[in-house]
């Protein structure tokens, strides 16, 4: 196989793994939103790769780090559309919510989402670790440096919920060692969820 062929097949291979990661991220983003905020939600469309323009007033990011890959999940949102759902979660009136509480809510949502994705990955014996969620201004997106790993893909989508609320979610995957991330190709979205006690036993909890 020539170098060019190898590069092309590597690109196709990594793209097919990235597709699985996005499939998991998109599906779980809706489910986790519905269970955390108790509001029906759905996805719509994808956003063009805009290279990091300001997509929302605030951004909350969390990293899922595996041996062969790194997945950065981000939620970009304005405060207004989140007030209603966050007030419900906090058990407060909308007027009582300040920016800090809204950020905390989205941070918690991203924490849950990353945890669920990590658990989905573990179904194909792919171990990973989570960072803590970081919240900052959407404006700072302009200065987030692009990582220098050779194989990286980004997917973004809208998450819409009842009452006209919406936010943008993005999943940025970088492959450090494709071979180590390969088990993801065996991922079956219809596989039954593992028993919680078995999962805890496996993790030594």
């Amino acid at each position: 196989m020539s170098n060019t062929d190898r590069r092309i097949s590597n690109a196709e291979f990594s793209r097919s793994i990235a597709d699985v990661v996005w499939q998991v991220s998109r599906a779980q983003s809706t489910r986790s939103f519905e269970s955390f905020f108790s509001a029906p939600a759905q996805q719509s469309g994808s956003l063009p790769g805009d290279g990091g323009a300001v997509l929302g007033h605030m951004v909350v990011a969390i990293i899922i780090q595996g041996e062969g890959f790194r997945l950065t999940l981000k939620a970009h949102a304005d405060l207004g559309p989140l007030r209603e759902v966050c007030a419900k979660v906090c058990g407060l009136e909308e007027a009582q919510l300040d920016e800090l509480r809204i950020r905390d809510c989205v941070r918690e949502y991203m924490n849950i989402l990353a945890g669920v994705i990590q658990s989905e990955f573990s179904k194909v014996n792919l171990e990973s670790r989570l960072s803590i969620p970081i919240s900052t201004r959407g404006f700072d997106e302009l200065f987030f440096g692009r990582p220098s790993t050779p194989i990286q893909y980004q997917d973004s989508w809208w998450l819409n919920w009842q009452g006209g609320g919406k936010m943008i979610l993005s999943a940025f995957i970088e492959f450090i060692d494709l071979a180590l991330a390969e088990p993801l190709l065996k991922y079956d979205p219809n596989a039954p969820d593992e028993d919680l006690f078995e999962l805890l036993a496996k993790q030594g909890g």
Partner: protein, 142 residues
């Protein structure tokens, strides 16, 4: 998980928490400045604003980034501002100061325009605005 890696994770979380809080407080400081603070593109599109600018644009604080700074000004003043933004973006001038009235015979603001940095291959510009209406009303002798 080994005890030492738990300590490292806890320490990292603490450091991130401190950085995050410091960033939040500095953002709040800029938000609550008594004057206008904005970072804009060369064409005046707002990328970051503060509370006063959002109030002058009559939009919620998280919506100002969908607007252009020129919306604050009458047409001729907007043209002047646009020219100044382009001058600073091109590097012809480091700092420009000019006084412009806001739209609808509104207050007069002294705008200070300077380069902020570069992102996505385009220059970004800082705009600070101070209300000088009262100052301009005083008789020259005072």
């Amino acid at each position: 998980m080994a005890l030492d890696s738990r300590i490292v994770i806890h320490a990292n979380a603490k450091v991130i928490e401190m950085i995050e809080k410091a960033k939040f407080l500095s953002d709040r400081l800029l938000d609550q400045l008594p004057g206008i603070f904005a970072v804009v593109r060369e064409n005046g599109d707002i990328l970051r604003s503060n509370n006063l600018l959002a109030a002058l644009l009559r939009v919620p604080e998280d919506q100002a980034r969908h607007h252009n700074l020129a919306e604050l000004l009458p047409a001729d003043a907007a043209m002047q501002l646009h020219g100044m933004l382009q001058d600073v973006a091109a590097g012809n001038k480091q700092l420009v100061q000019l006084e412009l009235p806001l739209v609808g015979n509104g207050p007069i603001y002294r705008f200070s325009i300077s380069a902020y940095g570069e992102a996505l291959g385009t220059p970004l510009i800082t705009v600070l605005g101070t209300d000088v209406t009262e100052l301009r009303k005083r008789p020259a002798s005072v």
